[in-house]
Amino acid sequence: MSRTPEQDEADYFAARAKAAAALHNPPARTVEAPKTLFDVTEMELNFGPQHPSTHGVLRIILKVDGEKIVDAIPDVGYLHRGTEKLFETETYPMAIPHTDRMDYVAAATSNHAYCLTVEKLLGVEIPRRAQLIRVILDELQRISSHLVWLGTSGIDLGAVTPFWYCFREREQILDFFEEYCGARLTLNCMRIGGLPFDLTPRWAEAVRAFIDDFPKKIDDYETLLTDNRIWKKRTVGVGVISAEECVEWGLTGPVIRGSGVEWDLRRAQPYECYDELDFTVPTGKNGDTYDRYLVRIEEMRQSAKIIRQCLDRLEPGEIKGKVPRVIKPIAEEVYASVESPKGEIGFYLVSNGTNKPYRLHVRPPSFINLQALPRLARGHLVSDLVALIGTVDIVLGEVDR
């Protein structure tokens, strides 16, 4: 009886998925584990604070049994800069540059969430052209953030080639941002009530040309990874989490969508002009690292689609709403959030009627998502931890603030 390599591979993945499912209810250990060489069954291992896969300063204290992770305790705070304290000492517009420096690979969505919060408190209406440009900037930022994620988490798992292609395209997006607002990473590209600059027709045409070409580039990345046997062996069945557990842990963004929940703030609670745009919210089935990879790939295609629709709808008009010169909201509190590439980024703002926020709290998606890392890592091998840090897609600047 002969078997094809495809059958072998299918069996392998089925067994792996089954083993991953068994992790949810591990059988109680009845026999005491044999002593190891060092006469201990568990060892503590320091992962980080500097490690190529953490892309920032993150320390994880691993309890390992041989190569298997028994527990993982993240130790964060190395990049804590007291941003929330600084918010309280500066006027409302002065907080925008600080929001760039939280999630520095997706600054536009942080800017957007903050501006939306203050606008909600002020009750300001945003002109339509500003709404469309904000959506274009957000979606360009989403593509560039996902490209960083794809390139670096590929490199962490040994797939070096996609990195160069991803960063080639990201470079183009950063050039667009540079032309728009002068900065490439810390954009400071939105203002309370609208935008600092208008688009030039040349910029819009250049973005359109890039967007028309971009889906082909995604196909190229997919030929390198999607059916790649090594990539699948490193990601299928790794870090499985169910939809219920995602809700319990507060996971948002591609992580919850990878577990099959069709929940995206752009669709659930549309802000700006997302309610009139045609896009789908991709979801996964198995809730493993591979499905989250597929979700992010599809999100990039959808972002390109959204940008094209916005460019089609652009008409001349105002880019700033009616905002007082000195922003002094009434003494109230609001919460507003947007869908960042990592998940729900929200701002909780308490005003006391002066020109400075009394309290401005950030709900950072990376911080909350990182919290579930021990749950994802338990029972996996140490080498899978690298895949898991990649798949929750954290930015340490946002975790520590």
């Binding site: 319990e248 842990w249 009434i330 509190e333 609001v334 919460y335 929200g346 709290h361 919290q371 520590d400």
Partner: protein
């Protein structure tokens, strides 16, 4: 552009809101006040009832996703702190904000055993505000280091920092961090 109706600029009383009625019906004596502003409902509850309120919101009202937990320091008010919870319901597609007042030194019952997502947020509040959560599974500092003295987000904590004893080159960098005491541009928050 169509003339949009501006959001009401003052908070309205929300004690008749169905969620508020539901909470006060299930947990006797829990609701202290309720208001609605910009379409967001805020319920102030008694400090010792928060676990029951959270459990009721999760099970009966389907607020299964704990978005965020944070705190606000009202230095001169009694009680001094507000602890603020945000919950989201997938079926209602809406959020509710639950607040409670807490004096300096008082303990707040933890909801980290009801919502796993609240664990790190409560650790962060302990770290930055010094509000202790009773029965919390792992109440350690999270963004500052173990052994740090003080709680940086309190309004009376100086913006330029405190002497942590961690100065490496005191002749170059004066103790306490930040600009020197005689710097005319030195900013003091409190």
């Amino acid at each position: 552009m169509a003339e949009a109706k501006p959001a009401p600029r003052t908070a309205a009383d929300a004690s008749g809101h169905p969620w508020v009625v539901s909470i006060s019906g299930a947990v006797a004596g829990a609701v202290v006040a309720a208001k609605e502003f910009a379409g967001q409902v805020t319920v102030t509850v008694a400090r010792e009832k928060i676990v029951e309120v959270a459990r009721h919101l999760k099970d009966a009202e389907d607020f299964k996703y704990c978005v965020d937990v944070t705190a606000v320091d009202w230095r001169d008010r009694q009680p001094r702190f507000d602890v603020v919870y945000h919950f989201y319901s997938f079926s209602k597609n809406d959020r509710i904000r639950v607040k409670l007042g807490c004096a300096d030194g008082e303990e707040v019952p933890t909801i980290a055993n009801t919502f796993l997502a609240a664990n790190w947020s409560e650790r962060e509040i302990w770290d930055l505000y010094g509000i202790r959560f009773s029965d919390h599974p792992d109440l350690r500092r999270i963004v500052t280091w173990d052994g740090f003295q003080g709680h940086p987000l309190r309004k009376d904590f100086p913006l330029e920092g405190i002497d942590t004893g961690a100065a490496i080159y005191p002749e170059e960098w004066p103790a306490g961090g930040g600009p020197p005491r005689d710097d005319p541009n030195r900013k003091v928050l409190s």
